[in-house]
Amino acid sequence: MSDPRPGRHYRLDEPSPDLADSLESARTYLPAQASEPLSDEESAAAPTLDAALAPPRKRRWGLLLVLGSTLGLGIAQAGETLYYATLGGDWLAGAWSLVGLLALGLGGKALLGELWRLRKLRRHARLRARLDEEWMQPDADTSAHDPMALADELRSQMGLSTAHPHWQSFVQAHQPHHSAFETRELIAHHLLHPRDRAARRLVTRMSGETAVMVAISPLTLIDMSLMAWRNIAMLDRIAALYGLQLGYASRLRLFRDVLRNMAFAGASEIATDAGMDMLSMNVAGKLSARAGQGLGAGLLTARLGLRAIATTRPIAFEPDERPRLADLRREVWHRLRRLEDGSKKP
């Protein structure tokens, strides 16, 4: 360990920009913490362990190559046909190839858009991991990274402008001496809580609606497509709340993440929920069979929605803040009851 640096006086006329005004560069210049080999080893070992535990990452270069070259060749061929058609005066062939070019162009644009959104999703996931790793310890060493810089990254990731009222109230609450952990608490309060509330309302409404729709739909096939449509719409909107625009591929990916999340991370939660579900299903015995189906669909949607919130939220929930299925169950139940009562009356 090197000695602590001694104190030092500076002239008063030294230009001293306010700490809060110069945050971008602050990270690099804060004095580095004396390094302790133990924690270094730990942090070096942790990622490899994580990587070993994580599912294997496949980059689908082959698929991308095939798609890209198909697009390229198609464009080349259409261009060639167009060229010869104008030379030979074959207007019909020319028009067709023009249409073909247009279609290929649109396809390429869509592909690029998908890639771009996927990249954004990945960046989101990375940021989330960093927020959770670096910021979780209450006494974490604050000098290694500047919390405000990370907060700013999060802000731009969520698509908020610096003038957004939520960001402004966060900036006002934040003090230069706040540690990473404390900053995280403030971010959760000022930036995320309003969105959490909106997301919760959304899930409540959508799952209630799904329940009703499934209950009144006459065909199982329609049920399934209804479920798929509603769930995807819900996922999109939740992601948008936390600043993610989903494309087709990123939606699939998120969907997969959410499902995996439901299967693994939430195993215990599902176990307790399932018990409760059985209980409410028991109650559901009093409902008609179709309403019972609706209840099931609604609860599944609600659970998916809650998981989607937990997956897309940039900072993991505090244990006591996590929205629970139990709160939503009642809502779904009430909607169905109202439906049943309404149908019995006339």
């Binding site: 104190g7 306010d18 700490l19 210049y29 913490q33 230069p176 001496h177 309060h189 509330r197």
Partner: protein, 466 residues
């Protein structure tokens, strides 16, 4: 069903209203640790909660549920009032001054009004919390181990515990003692003079930065000034092996007189404090001036460490601990704070907490074992500096801007805080010089600037504001 729910809610409200929501929060620390500043700022922040106080780390305040606080007259008329107005007054003079040092115990009662929290950020009814704030010297807690001793073993332990530098301050008293033996008959005035010399040696040592000094009341006698109960001292040269002969001495002998006073001190000074005050505290914060101890050098620093572990024994609720056997206290949450964090730049705060934890490693272990929730943090009750950055040799350098105690403006990097106790040889090469600052200019009508007072409040009473 809805009706039943409404009914249970109603009943719950009744219970809440009926239940006396009350909390006794005690603040302690050794001399000059920053107790008065802490309590002054605490009262000031709570009074300004919801108006201009920034208490973002206090959940109730962040959620805008804290409505405000009011001072009410205290219940114990026998305890001096905490000098809040005097302290605020000296902070508001020009140039601002720190509050005067205080002696002994004092108390202040606040009532807090807040809205209860319901699920999903909804606001509930308003509720009141009565908060009793008590400031008492940490030196009084140093006397707890004294209860384990009798006069003989205490004398032995005291003289053994003196290090070479500490001995210097006791030299005067020791030379006066050298002519005396335990069987001498010593008259009252001579005894008083000797005791005075002993007390002077203690307060000299404290002036010089030592903390582990017994008996604690000799330093802060309060209303006992000059009473014979404070006129005793350890006897040099007595040993456990002589116990039988010493016990057989006549009651007029020096040994017997001192032993009698020692017992009286135990019974009538140490125990009543624990019985009448300490036992009734619900929450406790212990303030530690870590930076001051670093300034004072290695022997003082170790002495502080020793004093703190002695002091912390009062919070060790292990089943077999002394405190539990004697008094059955009920403190259920403890904070340990390094004060004056505004003396160093914000990037050093983590080190400051680490050092505090290193200093208290053993007591904290014991507390965790006894399952007393404890949290260490760094804070500045009244933030006297501003964190800035400057360009220095092409690097950005965090600095502090404030006014020195002599009212001169300063721009300073105070130096690093080591995260662990520095090795011996370091002290010879380089010491620490964390300079003091005068308080920030204030008009007395706005909230005082602070560092992490809100975090301390969240830990100490956040759970009562749900």
């Amino acid at each position: 069903m809805a009706m039943r729910r409404a009914l249970t809610q109603e009943i719950q409200n009744l219970i809440d209203r009926g239940r006396d929501r009350q909390l006794r929060l005690a603040v302690t620390g050794l001399s000059r640790a920053g107790k008065t500043a802490f309590l002054t700022s605490l009262v000031n922040q709570l009074r300004h909660a919801g108006i201009d106080a920034r208490l973002d780390l206090l959940k109730a305040a962040r959620e805008e549920r804290l409505l405000g606080a009011q001072r009410v007259s205290q219940p114990d008329l026998g305890i001096p009032r905490f000098p809040f107005d005097e302290a605020m007054h000296s902070l508001a003079t020009t140039p601002p001054r720190w509050p005067e040092p205080t002696r002994g115990i004092s108390e202040l009662r606040l009532t807090l009004r807040y809205r209860t929290r319901r699920a999903h950020g909804l606001l509930g009814d308003t509720a009141t919390l009565t908060l009793d704030l008590i400031d008492y010297p940490g030196e009084w807690l140093l006397d707890l181990p004294l209860l384990e001793h009798d006069f003989l073993s205490w004398s032995e332990a005291q003289l053994k515990a003196m290090g070479p530098e500490r001995q210097r301050y006791a030299h005067d008293w020791q030379s006066a003692m050298s002519a005396l033996t335990p069987q001498d008959v010593v008259d009252e005035s001579r005894l008083a003079a000797l005791a005075e010399r002993y007390a002077a040696s203690l307060s000299d040592a404290r002036e010089a930065g030592f903390s582990h000094l017994q008996p604690g009341r000799f330093l802060l006698p309060g209303d006992l000034q000059g009473a014979p109960v404070l006129q005793f001292f350890p006897l040099p040269g007595v040993q456990e092996s002589d116990r039988a002969t010493l016990e057989a001495l006549p009651s007029t002998s020096l040994y017997q007189t001192l032993a009698r006073r020692f017992r009286y001190y135990q019974q009538h000074v140490v125990k009543p404090f624990y019985r009448e005050h300490f036992r009734r505290f619900d929450r406790q914060i212990v303030l530690v001036d870590v930076l001051g101890a670093l300034n004072a050098g290695p022997e003082r620093f170790e002495d502080l460490s020793l004093a703190l572990s002695t002091l912390m024994r009062s919070f060790d609720y292990g089943k077999r601990s002394l405190i539990n056997r004697l008094f059955a206290p009920r403190i259920d949450r403890l904070a340990i704070a390094a004060t004056k964090a505004d003396h160093v730049t914000p990037d050093q705060h983590a080190n400051l907490v680490a050092l505090l934890e290193a200093l208290l490693a053993e007591p904290i272990k014991d507390l965790r074992y006894a399952d007393v929730p404890v949290r260490a943090l760094s804070l500045a009750a009244i933030r006297a500096t501003q964190a800035r950055e400057i360009e220095d040799d092409g690097r950005r350098q965090p600095v502090l801007r404030g006014h020195g105690l002599d009212d001169q403006p300063l721009l300073i990097y105070p130096g690093d805080v080591p995260p662990t106790l520095p090795p011996r040889d370091f002290w010879q090469r380089q010491g620490f010089t964390f300079t003091g600052f005068r308080p920030p200019a204030s008009d007395g009508a706005s909230a005082l600037p602070h560092i992490r007072m809100d975090a301390a409040l969240e830990w100490l009473l956040g759970d009562k504001l749900r």
